[in-house]
Amino acid sequence: MRELRFHRDLYAGEQVDAALKVYERFGTFTTSEEGEHFVVRVESKSAARERRLAGELANYALGLTIRGRGAT
Amino acid sequence: MNLLEIGADGLDTGKPAFFRFRPLGDRVLLTNLEGRFVVLDDADFGRFARGEVEAGTPLFEQLSRENFLRESFDEAKAAAMIRARRRFLDAGPNLHVLVVTLRCNTTCVYCHASRANMDEVETDMTPEIAERAIDLILQTTSDYVTIEFQGGEPLVNFEVVKHAIEYALSKNASAGKQLEFTMVSNFALLDEEKLDYLLEHRVQLCTSIDGPADLHDSVRKLPRADGSAHGHAVRWTRRINERYRELGLEETLYHVEALVTVTRELLHRERELVDTYTELGCRALFLRPLDPFGFADKTQHLIEYPREDYLAFYRRTVDYIIERNKQGVEILERYAAIFLTKILNGEDPNFLDVRQPAGAGIGQLAYSYDGQIFTCDEGRMLDAMGDSSFRLGDVHMSSYRDLVGHETVRAVVLAGQLDGHPDCVHCAYNPYCGIPPVHSHKSQGSIWGRKRESSLCHVHKGILDYLFEKLATADQETLEVLQRWTTSRSRDHFLHRVTVGAV
């Protein structure tokens, strides 16, 4: 299991949700909210796959957040 | 330079007008907003920076004439030069690259064009795609249109080249553009019949010659049975130049344009390179360093070199070219000619890769064999490498305004302006420079890039250092040679002029 913590000030919640929808078919994701963070727990067949899945999800959520803000 | 001695408190911000500066040996180069320049020694620079230049002195007159002083600052003169340097903004793309096939008979170790094998006929452009591309091309807001046939090797799909020329000429009867055709070819598949056609239709011919035969053939490989790539290029260059003379065209103006790509092996053979070009009757040599596109990305361990080595080579080569000019041989170095035109004439020669904003999308469009359209030929090459960032649309679905108003074009226009870049904003060479965003994207991962770490920025600064050193210290004869390189004469023979309504 790998845990991702998306800080509310840095990631838009709806963009994290949008990223989860894209990647949900590749693994098991459990979401919760803890204080300032959206927490996503990633489970997949192997540790390597979990690392990759978590990383791709994070990059995707970051990309969507940046695009949503119009930043370059 | 004595800025530290002057100290921040000693600088006078009231008398000097806006300027940028750069050390130049034991002197200081100053350029201003519109791109005028002066080179001062330390003492004069100190006087200027402290606001101690007295009216009536030769230094005051020089600084005043070049618009470096607030009290005599001529806004209209500055505005006129800035306008002249940006004149290209008034019109849309004038260069349209038509990739008529990816098939190529040669294999070049640094191939920039993304090639396909000769049996991959599916990479040929169809006549219908060529027509749709030309319909778009002739909608440009530019009065001048150059259609450049590229590949692969364009002679492989010569029927479509012919079709495109004839279709463009017929459509241009109503479009009324000043139309030119050029073709970039290795000439290995040229024959007299094709040459007759190309000369009859006034197609300007360009080739690549990478130095002496052994070097050229080591990087541009033809199948053994087809002979030497260098042999074909040289033989046909001579033949074409001979045909131009037979047509009564002045040979100083009309000759095959040859391009060189500088590989590691060439760095020690500058005299052989220049001699090869002069012996062929070429009047220009463009010392292009390797770029990161195409095969060059994969084979760089074989052919790349530190940019310092390139710049040393550049200095030696241009020194030798100047020497040959003094002996009566007319040949120029293209990079130098581009920069000198900006420096000495106060105008932009509109070379699309060294201007700001760069030409991508607003000065150039590239049409791939399959109808896809890109901001520039480098954007097309990146697409062939799996990166479609610079794709704008295709000949079937896109309108002209869709293409040039595309969000990618807007982004590269913004990123192509050096006043938005750290380092560039304070660089003395800002008025003369330009870095294509596609280069930054490929080499540094963003269209903005970091110029201080950019190999192209390094090359431009090195070349401009060399040129300004020459302008500051060279003898009169050298200065006359450099001034002559800024003379641009139009090659009217290649223009297909049409007066709308008269046809």
Binding site: L4, R5, H7, D9, L10, Y11, E36, R51, R52, A54, G55, E56, A58, N59, L62, G63, T65, I66, R69, A71, T72 | R86, L89, D90, A91, G92, P93, T140, T141, P357, G361, I362, S399, R401, V404, G405, V409, R410, V413, L414, Q417, D419, G420, H421, P422, V425, Q444, G445, S446, W448, R450, E453
Partner: protein, 171 residues
């Protein structure tokens, strides 16, 4: 296994070689969030990038290499990120300062290239779309803009009372 980078204080950056990743701490009072986003974005082809805010005034950037990376490679990532961050921060400031000139050139370049729209293109244009953001309310109707005054008028106050409030209400 957490390792220091030679010459870099541990509190600023360190590596986790087991995970092929590096962490940097960024002072968010020096660098804007937009700059951090900009620098992060140039790494997503090589790294998985995670951002967090461990404490007020700090941002933590984790660069996890997509492929296994040595300590030297991770140090290279950290150095390049720091350079890119500086470039982004400065570019943001310069672009704001030179915005007028840059926008003028961009507008001229695009207008020069595009030319005027054709009649067909005008016919296809959807004029019902929101044309632009209108923070000053220039395109709003009087009633929309001064709804409070409209409410007052309903209460029987004279038309002079409907005059716009001082600027602070619009701000």
């Amino acid at each position: 296994m957490t390792q220091r980078f030679a010459g870099v204080p541990d509190v600023l950056a360190h590596a986790d070689l087991d995970d092929s990743s590096a962490e940097l701490t960024v002072d968010s009072t020096l660098y804007s969030l937009e700059s951090v986003y900009g620098a992060s974005f140039t790494f997503i082809d090589r790294c998985f990038v995670f951002l967090d805010r461990p404490a007020e005034g700090q941002l933590r950037v984790t660069l996890a290499a997509k492929k296994s990376a040595t300590q030297d490679e991770l140090r290279g990532f950290v150095g390049e990120f720091a350079n890119e961050l500086l470039a982004c921060a400065w570019r943001e400031k310069i672009t704001a300062e030179n915005r007028g000139a840059i926008e003028a050139v961009t507008m001229q370049a695009l207008a020069g290239a595009m030319g005027p729209p054709s009649l067909d293109e005008l016919e296809d244009f959807d004029f019902s779309e929101e044309p632009f953001e209108d923070p000053l309310g220039i395109a709003m109707s009087w009633e929309e803009k001064y709804g409070k005054d409209k409410a007052k008028r309903k209460q029987g106050e004279g038309p002079e009372a409907a005059a716009p409030e001082p600027a602070e209400e619009e701000a």
